[in-house]
Amino acid sequence: MRLVLPQAVYDDIVDHVLTGYPLEACGLLVGVPEQNGATQALRFVPSANLAVSALAYTIDPKVHLRAERDADDDDLAVIGVVHSHTHTDAFPSPTDVAAAPDPTWEYVIVSLRDPSPSLRSYRIQGDTVTETPVEIVDRSAQAEV
């Protein structure tokens, strides 16, 4: 199992979470759900953090609604959610685990604790957290699925 993240999508994510700092920032990942062990991210949909907090995030439901509809139109799906941890590790907190709605989603966390951002991704099934290796690929490269 791995998450394939184009460099351009990675750059969009890092830009968004740095812009949101010192608050937590968040957004949704749209792409192709897991096939043959690979989940392919194709775009990042930034959201305002409705929690307006350095400790918590809430995706704007309107952004989620639009992202779902746009993804559906393109035969894609919302495959995960991205948020930043401004002062802690890139690991799901108890709140993240308790609030995780979908066991098939990737939960991407960008830690801004250290000078350079650290991005990691997880699946959360019940209270079990499993890290998903992230493969950052060149803009032009396609995932082998």
Binding site: E24, Y57, I59, P61, L65, V81, P92, P101, D102, T104
Partner: protein, 102 residues
Amino acid sequence: MSDVVEATLPTVSIRIPMILRPQVGGAKTVDATGATLGALLADLTIRFPGVTSQVLTADGELHKFVNIYVNDDDVRYLGKLEAPIKSGDEVTILPAVAGGAF
């Protein structure tokens, strides 16, 4: 008379989020009939009892971790379960997406 009333009740498409699709046999959308959101959900319960328990609390209120839309509007601003439904509306159920650092 009651036949006439029933014939005019709207049947609309409800978009089901990924997480609830197992409760509706894997379908992306299901049809339901009713003049209000509450009536739609009651109709849905007859065929798919698993969905409603995920969407409504034990007290029959909308669950706070679920967002439901009629077209582009959050039903919390349309009267919640009393939100009126008309023919051609599209209803979307989405999980709230939230978390935190601790």
